[in-house]
Amino acid sequence: MKKWVGRLALLMLICIFGIAAILIGTIYFHFISQRIYEDSTGHLEEIYDQVNHSFGAFVERNWGLLEGWDKYIALADSNGDNTVSDFIQNEQKYWGFSDFYFIAANEDSMSVEGVKESIDLGEEWSRITEDKEPVMAGSTLSSGKDVTFFVIPTEHKAYKDFGYDAIAVSYTNADMASSLNVNAFSGNAKCFIIHSDGKILLSTMTGGNVYENYLVYLKAASDISAEHIDALRNDWEAGKSGLLYCTIGDVDYSILYQPVGYQDYILLSVVPQSVISAGFLSVQKTTTNVMIVLSMLIGAAVIVLLVMRYRKMSLKSRMELQYRERMFDVLSNSVDDIFIMLDAQKHSVDYLSPNIERLIGIPVEDARKDIRVLLNCVMNSDVVVPSSVLEAIPLQGSISRECEYMHQTTGERRGYRMTVYHMSIQDVRKYIFVMSDRTMELQMNKQLKEALTAARSANEAKSNFLSNMSHDIRTPMNAIVGFSVLLEKDADNPDKVREYTRKITASSHHLLSLINDVLDMSKIESGKTSLNVEAFSIPELLDELNIIIMPQAKAKMQKFKIHVQGVVHEQVIGDKLRLNQILINLLSNAIKYTPDSGEIDFTISELPQAAQQYATLRFAVKDNGIGMSEDFLEQVFSPFSREINSVTNKIQGTGLGMAITKNLVDLMGGIINVESQPEKGSTFTVELTFAIPEKDEGEAWYNSKVSRILVADDDEEICLDIRELMKDSGVTVAYSTEGAKAVDMAVKAHEEGKDYNVILLDLKMPGMDGVQTAQKLRERLGSGVPILVLTSYDWSDIEKEARQAGINAFMPKPFFVSTFWQTIKPLFSEEEARKKIDEEAAEKAMEGRLFLVAEDNEMNSEILTEVMAMEGAKCELAVNGQEAVSKFEASDVGHYDMILMDVQMPVMNGYDATRAIRASAHPEAKTIPIVAMTANTFAEDVRNAMDAGMNGHLAKPIDMKAVREMVIKLLGPSNKSDSNKQGDTK
């Protein structure tokens, strides 16, 4: 309050000072103006006194000259005409008049040259004739020219027989005007010689004069009243001087009048008032300007001081305010609650917490300009609070709403509880919006709901799973149990025993595959599956697939074809095992659901590369089987889904294959699609992207020996595909679709001394088949050129015949460059030939080996012992890990060749046993090969085994081929005899 009183007093002081300054300035200005105007007017009168005086002198001079010339003419006339004429002309040149006239009593006149002219001097003529006074009068000549005459009366005389009573000189009005011109007002002053009745005799205006009677003009054009005009006329008639002010048009004039002193003529000066003062205006202006500047300087100094003081004070309070605002901004920025304060009348924003941009994505400035922008972000429009609702909130009252806003930039949705308070702050009503962030709470609720739903679903799934499993497991189990009972009963009947055993085996295999699938599925779904990525060969993969699938297809008399299209990258990096699993699933299904004699096409093609280091392969399995309904297609990849119809009911399956396949494809980052129509067949397409390994430079060796090959195949597309695939290797491919023609081509090349390095023949061709063509070639070419047979059929039946015909090797279809190199490598390399012999020797690697087998399952260990014995190897058994460790530690050096270690065992598991062995003091603790032998076949199981110190991993059930390969890998070929080792049995 005190502060306000102080400010008010200061303001009043400034006002008083300002008013005083303005008053003093105005008075001074008025005083100066008045003085200047008085001086100016005085100056005007002075100037026109001089003008009047000089004009009077001009008039007097002319009259005086005329008097002198009259005397001269009177004397000179007798001397002859020319004398007067010459004299006057000389005088005219000197004094500048226009003409000289002799004027008769009737106003006829004659120039000195004798030219007659009629002059009308009006009333003035009587002054000459009657009063005998000199006059000055205006008249218009016959030429239309307005002139002024100066006339003096003379005695009646004659000149050239022209009787005259007066003589005169005339001046044009322009010449006359020059004698009245006033330069003092820069030519802006008008000067008139007028009669007392207002009629204008002369004017100084440039270019002439249109004012005929100035009194009449003033009456019409000026603001002078009729009474004043009459008074003015009276003044003029009375020969008075005076000064009057008037406005004509928009201009203020000063009109000075004073009698000339001759006749009743009046000198009238009309000067714009602005012109009169112009000369003094600069002084006035300068003075005024100095005063204004001084006042302004003083005022400015005072204002600056006051402003500085005020700014200091306001800066302090602003700083405090800013500090508080900043504090609040920081606080509100660090929380997820939004605060808005609106003026209740204008609904303008008084405060807005800056976190609105972070939380809702609306720029603070936009929201400040118009808070309604918030409405654009509200997701549930039913919570918008209209003005009517706001106004209905009682003072100090509040309302609340739950609302959801969408972030304008990120699209994130956030939930708020919006509470609107109606408050009065310093007697101004405000609405305060507090928007409390409840996103976490809402999300938590949502998650809880989802979790509840998931739990219910899981429970339901578990029930379904158990129901499905119960059914699927019971079926083979029933068969096993049932046939086991029958086996016991019919043990003496070998045929029945074989029949029951076969059925028990089949049911066991089905049960095993079911268990494997369930485990796989479980593993994949729990996210515990990881990929075992390594480089592998597509041709090898296809070869393996062919080996597995072809017999199945053959069994159902189905045509199984593998097509390869544009596969440039035959070596890729990926999980071969999982890919194999995917493709076997698809192919097995195709065979399973395609009737006998149906067709299955397996096509592998390479898609255009998206990146240099990656190759994308498309695997398509197409069959013309029973197909699937549109409804079933939607759930084909769901677990335990099997279409129920008369055909599928007879086909055994777990309903997990496609689900596993889909999950594996997803795991490998690929795409799987299916197209199917009932009774027409299905096509499954899998697209997977693999990394490409660095290229094997070893191929270059072959390039040097193989530069030209000849292909004979009745399918031209295959020939062209081979040419395309070989393009990058630099090998030239010639081809023929007929065997006979191929023979001709090869013979021609031979005769030219340009034998083909290799000849590839299709086995089955119309006309001459592959074997016949080979025979012909050998007849004509001898044995120098290697001949290969390309076939998609099993060649074991014709191998002997083919070899006899001169065929060096067989190659499976489809053609792969790598397979080709692999096939021809032995034909060009002695080292490879030797290697082949070694491989054959390695097949006997198991002979004489002694294995320590740690296995808690008696049945498993018995089976293993028997199978190993069939390979010529012996086993010593341990029932748990601890026993295995003890047996190893107690053994002599070189006693055991290898330890086969089960992982899950009582007392001590396989991992711990391995670690114990590696940590033991036995000389071979670090070197004895230990191989895991477990049903845990996943990649991390292999890794765990390796981490524990094992050297390899074999999956149960034990495959002897895998055991053999492992032994060769870890121990090399055997050179031991059966007698070297003594194996124990438990």
Binding site: G207, Y211, L215, V216, K219, G249
Partner: protein, 425 residues
């Protein structure tokens, strides 16, 4: 739409009255029929029908009148000349646009006709080509265009008419100071004012006229044209045209002048007898004439009337009879009979039955000193009065400056010249 007016009945009646319906054989044998071509509205003027009737009655010859609608006249007449259907006598509005008719090939020069000396100087000037050859007999009502002012009002204001441009400026300002509109300037569609200002520019300097017609220079190259437009712009700004000059058109001139609201206007004397409002504050007797001042002539200018003239077909086999017809028209007795009571300035010195306005008579000396032939409108190739109004309208509405206005005038003129196929454009 060729329409022929055969005044058969009239001719028959005249023949009856002159010959008492008993024309002798000689008359019949010697009579000829002359073809006379003109605009329908022109041929219907009373003094024209009067002279035609006199001729037929007194000579026994006949006139075959070929009358075209006004709008078609130029085109139809050109076609007739091209197709060998040219008349013996051809009426054309003074010498404007005669280039379309190949004057030297089609018409007689009338320099040695006896009536030449009876023509007033102004009338003679209208019938001459640029080399001074007389192309036709002016037979039309004549007028003088100038600055007509309210002398009564001027006297009451203690003012007198201007004799120079400076005085005119002075007068305008003095009138404006008294609250009157100095000049009634009908900017709304009235198109004749500018040609008055341009007449001195081209009439006083034939070289300038030739250059602009050869497209060697433009208005922008002639300082006097810019001076004129600048004066008009200044006058408008100073209020010398009053406040509503943009809305003032032909219809308003009379009331503004007759009421005394405006003091002066640039118009012609016959207007006072045809269009000036009667029964208003001021009558014709209150007006007088002074020159037009548009800043192009120090002592101002008048424009003589636009006259119709009768031309003789050089290639006609009745050329002599056609020349005789012109002689007949130029005979004092005949023309005085024809123009009896017609308000017109004299075309013939012996004209005495017509009514010549006092305004013209009083200003005779000034007219003689400052009158110019209508040059801009009739001789400047591509000149279009309407285009000039359009250009000035843009200036008045402040959409361009003086320079821009002159440029527009040039653009319009050149467009018009091109449209007419003028040489050099």
């Amino acid at each position: 739409m060729k329409k022929r007016i055969f005044s058969a009945m009239l001719i028959a009646a005249l023949i009856c009255s002159v010959t008492g319906c008993a024309a002798n054989k000689d008359t019949e044998d010697k009579s000829v029929t002359l073809t006379l071509m003109g605009k329908k509205s022109d041929l219907q003027k009373s003094y024209m029908t009067s002279i035609f009737n006199q001729y037929e009655a007194e000579t026994g010859n006949k006139l075959d009148i070929i009358a075209y609608e006004d709008a078609e006249y130029e085109t139809a007449a050109q076609e007739d000349f091209k197709n060998g259907n040219a008349p013996d006598i051809f009426l054309h509005f003074h010498n404007a646009d005669l280039s379309r008719f190949d004057v030297s090939e089609n018409f007689c020069y009338l320099n040695n006709e006896k009536w030449i000396n009876d023509l007033t100087d102004g009338a003679k000037a209208y019938c001459q080509d640029k080399d001074g050859n007389i192309l036709g007999l002016p037979f039309w009502e004549n007028s003088v265009s100038g600055c007509y002012y309210n002398k009564t009002l001027l006297n009451s204001l203690g003012l007198k008419p201007a004799a120079t441009q400076a005085e005119f400026n002075m007068l305008c300002q003095a009138l404006a100071d008294t609250g009157y509109t100095p000049i009634c300037w009908p900017a709304n569609g009235c198109s004749w004012m500018l040609q008055f200002g341009l007449d001195p520019v081209f009439a006083d300097d034939p070289e300038t006229l030739e250059k602009i017609n050869n497209n060697e220079i433009s208005y922008s190259d002639i300082p006097a044209v810019t001076d004129m437009i600048q004066w008009i712009a200044d006058a408008a700004d100073k209020g010398w045209f009053g406040e509503n000059y943009l809305e003032t058109g032909w219809e308003q001139i009379s009331s503004e002048m007759a009421s005394g609201q405006a003091v002066m206007t640039f118009i012609w004397d016959t207007w006072f007898y045809t269009d000036f409002e009667k029964d208003n504050k001021y009558s014709v007797d209150d007006f007088a004439l002074m020159p037009i001042f548009l800043n192009t002539a120090e002592n101002g200018t008048y424009e003589g009337g636009n006259l119709n003239m009768m031309m003789v077909n050089k290639n006609s086999d009745k050329k002599e009879e056609a020349l005789d017809f012109l002689d007949f028209c130029a005979t004092e007795k005949n023309y005085n009979k024809a123009f009896d009571g017609i308000s017109t300035v004299n075309c013939f010195k012996g004209q005495n039955t017509n009514i010549q306005s006092d305004m013209v008579t009083e200003a005779e000396k000034s007219i003689k000193a400052n009158e110019r032939v209508s040059t801009a409108a009739s001789r400047v190739v591509g000149y279009s009065a309407d285009d000039m109004v359009a250009a000035l309208d843009v200036l008045f509405r402040k959409k361009t400056d003086v320079k821009g206005c002159v440029k527009l005038m040039d653009e319009y003129r050149i467009q018009e010249a091109k449209a007419n196929g003028a040489d050099g454009f």
